[in-house]
């Protein structure tokens, strides 16, 4: 395993983490399941490349533009679909994701099904890490704010949330918008990492992957999201030695977690400084410590949620 290969996996981890963080807000904290977030990644990716190559904007601005366009696209979608309950919203997002892919397949301005090649590889480990860390920080702050609490209230019991005066549609729209912006930025990062865009990359399988990472990590936990997306991105690579069997092992390990911990890895809990202290106290100083990625996420946290 050379450094180039490891660096590639780490960059993919960062890209997935950015997308999954947004989805975690929507699914984990607001209780809305989406199977169309690859669609928002596609919109963000194409928009970021358009902004960078055709409009000549600098890389960070192009990324933000991609995120913003994805967010703006989410608004009419949300307005139309967020009044739908549970499964129906899920089906509507699935339809949206597929529709975006088919449109991109057929619109020749963006290269159609052949794809858009020749994108300069600008995404580096440094700026992916920066984006993911910034994304995590903002998300932790958001979730612990009054807005985050309102979203949790909607997830827990929407009617009750409305009767205490929370504007449920507004908060669901806000949640969808923010998650679309995250997905859009991730799409841009991915486009500028692979140097190539093709509608096929943003299929339903990709959306499902993102949702699995959220559930695997634990509904309603940012640390879980971080752990889940890093583990599930790295796992298929670590298992490459098993050749074709690696996908079986991947599937089996997801099933295993779902059976043994239905609430996901973290199950609504957060890793924080206080959590580490409690972990170390009974064991003494010789504790094994946690994985590096999770520690970074926890530093911004405000302790285990009660």
């Amino acid at each position: 395993m050379n450094w180039f290969y490891i660096k590639g996996i780490l960059i993919l981890c960062g890209i997935n983490l950015t997308a999954v963080l947004g989805l975690s807000l929507l699914t984990g904290f607001t209780g809305l399941f989406s199977f169309g977030h690859a669609g928002f990644m596609a919109v963000g990716g194409y928009a970021a490349v358009w902004a960078g190559l055709r409009m000549g904007l600098p890389f960070p601005v192009a990324l933000l533009a991609g995120g913003l366009v994805a967010g703006i696209v989410s608004l009419p979608i949300g307005r139309l679909t967020l009044n739908l309950k549970g499964d129906y919203f899920c089906i509507a997002t699935l339809g949206f994701g597929e529709a975006i892919r088919l449109v991109l397949d057929n619109v020749q301005t963006f290269g159609g099904a052949r794809g858009w090649a020749g994108i300069p590889v600008t995404t580096t480990l440094f700026n992916v890490t920066l984006a993911a860390a910034l994304g995590t920080f903002v998300m932790v702050r958001l979730v612990h704010s009054r807005h985050g609490r309102n979203m949790i209230a909607i997830r827990e019991e929407e009617l009750a949330a409305r009767t205490v005066g929370i504007n449920a549609l507004k908060y669901k729209m806000m949640s969808l918008f923010i998650s679309a912006v995250y997905a859009g930025v991730a799409g841009g990062l991915q486009a500028y990492y692979l140097g190539f865009l093709q509608p096929k990359m943003f299929s339903m399988t990709r959306s499902t992957e993102l949702t699995i990472m959220v559930i695997f990590g634990g509904i309603g936990s940012i640390s879980g999201t971080v752990l889940g997306s890093i583990l599930l991105t790295a796992l298929p690579e670590l298992l490459r030695a098993f050749a074709l069997w690696r996908l079986v092992v991947y599937g089996a390990s997801v099933i295993f977690i779902m059976i043994s911990r239905p609430e996901g890895l973290m199950g609504g809990k957060e890793i924080s400084i206080a959590w580490f202290r409690r972990l170390l106290r009974p064991v003494g100083v010789g504790g094994a410590g946690g994985s590096g990625g999770a520690g970074g996420a926890g530093a911004g946290g405000r302790g285990v949620r009660q």
Binding site: E156, R162, T163, V164, G268, Q306
Partner: protein, 241 residues
């Protein structure tokens, strides 16, 4: 104080409420009794803006009530929904504070919190506990307490005694009387007609979306038709059902 005029609500093709008129005066407890599916909850949901009426007026102190739930709460109308809808993964304290969502005056919020704890000492014992782990009766207390935290002028209570042990029903009804004594007007929907009529000043009987009878609760309590249909008291040879 609260006035409903010629209210019509449809669910698709189903006419759930037909020309319903209703009045609640300041400081009153008014109850709506009726069988399952008569439209009692629909009426409360229409007042609180959760369900959109097709026609009719809902007035608070002569002014039309907002069309959205959050607008309605702001005007001082608070619904305590049926079925103990608590935020299961938030603590009892957080649940109560969610009730004060639209208020910003810290000192009066704390005063109301103390008042809720005084009404329901059980909640103060369990303030750190997750709401989902409370018993049914405690969850009902919590939803009522959460409603009080919005400091409402009028409270819409939907089936507060549903599925509770008789002793708890007693407690809940004592608290309802207590809340009214403290100056909050109450509109109470109940299937437990006996309990509701005993505590209320006036009552409306709703059947298939139509108000069929109204009057002082004490009179309805002794009305032979009501006694037969809702209180399970048989009259001579006639049978129910």
């Amino acid at each position: 104080m609260l006035e409903v005029k010629d209210l019509n609500v449809f669910y698709g093709g189903i006419h759930a409420l037909r020309d319903v008129c209703l009045k609640v005066e300041r400081g009153e407890i008014v109850t709506i009794i009726g069988a399952n599916g008569a439209g009692k909850s629909t009426l409360l949901n229409a007042i609180s803006g959760v369900v959109k009426p097709r026609s009719g007026k809902i007035l608070l102190d002569g002014q039309p009530v907002a069309a959205t739930p959050h607008g309605v709460v702001k005007q001082g109308i608070c619904q305590v929904p049926e079925g103990r809808l608590v935020f299961a993964n938030l603590s009892v304290y957080d649940n109560l504070m969610m009730g004060a969502y639209l208020r910003s005056d810290k000192t009066s919020i704390i005063a109301d919190l103390q008042r809720v704890y005084a009404l329901f000492p059980r909640l103060s014992e369990r303030q750190g506990q997750m709401a989902g782990t409370l018993s049914g009766g405690e969850q009902q207390m919590l939803t009522m307490g959460r409603g009080l935290m919005s400091s409402p002028r009028i409270m819409l209570l939907d089936e507060p005694s549903l599925g509770l042990a008789p002793l708890l029903v007693e407690t809940i009804y004592q608290v309802i009387a207590e809340i009214r004594r403290a100056g909050t007007t109450i509109l109470l929907v109940e299937q437990n007609a006996y309990k509701a009529l005993a505590v209320a000043d006036r009552a409306y009987v709703l059947e298939h979306g139509i108000v069929t009878q109204e009057g002082p609760a004490r009179e309805l309590l002794h009305d032979p038709r009501i006694r037969q249909a809702y209180l399970g008291v048989k009259q001579g040879q006639t049978r129910v059902g």
